[in-house]
Structures are given as structure tokens and as C-alpha cells.
Homo-oligomer: 240 residues x 2
């Protein structure tokens, strides 16, 4: 967990600032000024970036790698709420109100973050009221995602849920190849199970079924080839 303080040129040029919608109302100069305030941290796989119940002291932007955000359920399993990947960020609501973190964020692979402390962020908010509006928009869209997730987990048919998850992954992590769409899965089978609220083995079986039906093909544990997207959409209940 090394920490560096330096002018964030790399970050500015390539990723974190420009990828974060809430900073889109800043002009060029201010982005550069802001970039100088940014602190970086790196995390190894399995390390915690934020822990449920602890105060969150900064806005965290994922510059590289991906993370899972989860809560523990009363029967001891983890319920995954979000997967945060490059360009995603979290902690913004805790910077304004003084709540503690509602979930734990854990690195799924080596992760680099850009961070802005609470006081820096509040200053920024003072100078740029538009940022508040951007945050509301972002929170609104994240809320819509959560509402969709809640809707989907409320569906009794688990086949639909699994297919729906794969479709989400296509748009987020999929690349078109000549054989089909390759998804680099952010989560393991167990992770997907903990997101969907079902048993690990059930995910295996559902994916196995899809493979038997020639809808997908398992490449490695971390990637899947989608052969028949239309069929996935049918099972998920989107088309037909």
C-alpha cells in the first residue's frame, strides 16, 4: 500500500480526472491545479480500499484495476453491490455528509487509485457549485442501477438473472472478436454468485447449461465467449 504525492501528469493525461463525470465542468487550468492535489495509492489483490463502518476520508477514483464493493449478509456471506473498475469512483456522498461507509471495497487485482481528501473536495465544491449538480446526476444514475439490480434479484427465475448479468458484462467488459463477444469477467464464479445472491454451484450449473446450448463457451475461469447474444437476451427477458 505505497503512497506517493506528485503532480498527477500521467493521471491527468490518461485517465482519472477526465474520466470522472463530476469534474467535467472544470476548465483545463483548474483540472491541472486539481491534479496537483491528488494522491495515489496502490493496492494488492485482496487489500481493502474502504471498510464498512469506517469513516471515508476521501473521494477515490479507480485509475487501474477493478474492485468489488460488498456488505456481509446476516448468514455470513458477502453480498456484492458494485464492481468498480477504471474510471469509476466512490466516496463522494461521504465527503458531504459525515456518514460512515456503507460497504467494504476490496481490490480484485492490483489496483491504482487517485484520491482527493475531504477538505480538498469541499473547497472544490465551494468554487464549483456545478460539481454538486454533477454528483446528483451521478448518484441518480447509480441509484437507477441499484434499483435495476434489486428488480433483477427479485425475479424468481435464476436463468434470467444469470443471462442478464452476462449481458451487463458484455456492455462493460466485452470485446467483439470474429468468433463472438469475449467477456473478461471481473468476478469469479463465487463472486458472481455473491452478486446474484445464489450458491456458487448454481452459477456453475447455469453457465454449464448455457454452454451445452451453445450460447456461450467458457474460455478460462476469467473469460467467456458469447456465441449467441440474442438467445441470452431472450432468456434474460429482454427480447421476444
Amino acid at each position: 500500500m505505497s503512497e506517493q504525492k506528485y503532480s498527477c501528469n500521467h493521471c491527468f493525461d490518461s485517465l482519472c480526472m477526465h474520466k470522472v463525470p463530476i469534474f467535467s465542468s472544470l476548465n483545463h487550468e483548474d483540472i491541472i491545479k486539481l491534479a496537483e492535489l491528488i494522491t495515489h495509492k496502490t493496492y494488492k489483490k485482496g487489500e481493502f480500499i474502504l471498510r464498512e463502518g469506517e469513516p471515508c476520508e476521501s473521494l477515490v477514483i479507480i485509475q487501474e484495476g477493478s474492485t468489488k464493493a460488498y456488505k456481509y449478509t446476516i448468514d455470513g456471506r458477502e453480498q456484492i453491490l458494485y464492481v468498480f473498475s477504471e474510471g469509476d469512483f466512490f466516496g463522494e456522498q461521504y465527503l458531504i455528509s459525515d456518514q460512515v461507509a456503507a460497504f467494504t471495497v476490496e481490490a480484485l487485482e492490483p489496483v491504482t487509485t487517485c484520491m482527493l481528501t475531504k477538505s480538498q473536495f469541499r473547497q472544490l465544491l465551494h468554487g464549483y457549485p456545478d460539481i454538486a449538480v454533477k454528483i446528483i446526476e451521478e448518484l441518480g444514475s447509480r441509484m437507477s442501477r441499484l434499483e435495476k439490480a434489486l428488480q433483477s434479484i427479485g425475479v424468481r427465475n435464476i436463468d434470467a438473472r444469470v443471462s442478464g448479468l452476462l449481458l451487463d458484462y458484455i456492455t462493460q467488459y466485452g470485446t467483439e472478436e470474429k468468433e463472438g463477444i469475449v467477456i473478461r469477467l471481473p468476478l469469479s464464479r463465487e463472486g458472481m454468485a455473491n452478486y446474484l445472491g445464489v450458491a456458487r454451484e448454481t452459477v456453475s450449473r447455469k453457465l454449464g447449461q448455457l454452454e451445452n446450448d451453445n450460447i456461450i463457451r467458457s474460455i478460462t475461469n476469467k473469460s467467456i465467449l458469447v456465441l449467441d447474444r440474442g438467445e441470452l437476451e431472450k432468456i434474460a427477458g429482454i427480447s421476444e
Copy 2:
């Protein structure tokens, strides 16, 4: 669905404005000014206050009565996301960004609402930037609720979910009586089932079980007496 435009004295005195956290930074005079802009509508049981997919043109505050907010799942059932009762409000995120409504809001009983149009609200936001911060706080807390709901629905043990729901209702709709805590249920059995993502009959059975164990007693279809709150907490996984 009658519509009235008049100075909202009743509303000001009793309910809607002061109950809404996002207006707490307004001073007395401005609240009075604002109250004059407010429009009222009444809805009969079963009428729609907002429909999923349609644009939401105003901030809606529930002055009287209660409503359910839901989405249709792909297998045709409704997944209830929220119950909005007196003092709750919705639509704030749609007033800033121009998204369409993510859910349908339907009156569960006769409902009176206070409404503020999009342009009125935007003006207000301009004069009181603090309101934006309040909205972020409110969205943050609503998001925490959703995250909690998602966590709870991901629990495999349905007994825990039912007990957890009853505990939530105790804090929101419960009154202490000498025999125990009386809950005026906002939802029917079917409604609870659609919130929990299980079959109507399953809710009946789980409640029947709790009644057999002398933990609750069913008074009418719309109210329940809680005899042993501690036991409910154990089943929900909170205590012990």
C-alpha cells in the same frame, strides 16, 4: 385526480414543507414564498402518481396517505422498491438531470401530494445552493437504504427477510400499546411478497409460523401485533 392551486397554508403549518429535509436550509419567509408556488393533487387508491418511463415534471411530496414505488420484472410481477408515506418525497433527481422515471408510483389509499414544478425547483436551487447539498445527503441515505435492501434480499433465509421487514415496519409504522407493538401495515400480503421477491403464499406461511410461535398476532389484514420483538431480531439476525 383534482388539482388545486392556492397558497399552501395548511401544508405549511402541518406537513409537507417542514417535513422535507431538503428545504431545511430555507428561512421562514422563503418557505412561505415557496408554499405559494406549491400545487396539490389528490389521488384515489390505485391511481398512478408517476409511471415508469415517463418524464417526471415535478418534485412530489406525500402530504397524506401512502404509495408504493415499483418496477415490473421480466416475469410480469411487480418488484416494489419503496413505500413512500407522509413526508417522503421523490422525483428530485429527475428535476436536475433529464432522465425518465425509473419506477411507477401508485397510491395505496387516498393520497394528497404537494408538488413543485421543474422550473420552480430549478429557480429555487439557484437561489439556495445549499439545497443541492441536502439533496446529495438525502440521495445518499436513500442509496444506503437500497443497498441494505439489496443485501437483505440476497440472504437465502426467507424467515430472516420477513422478520427484518417487520422490524423496519415497527420503526416506521409501529405504535407501542400495552399488549405489544401494533404495526399498521402499509402493504398487503401480496405487496410484502412483491417487496421481498417471494410468493404471496410464502409470506402467509411465514407469518403463520411467527403467529404459532407467539411472536406476532394477526389483528386484521392491515395490522399486526408484535409480541416478542427480541425474537424477531434474533430471527432477522440482528441480536444474539
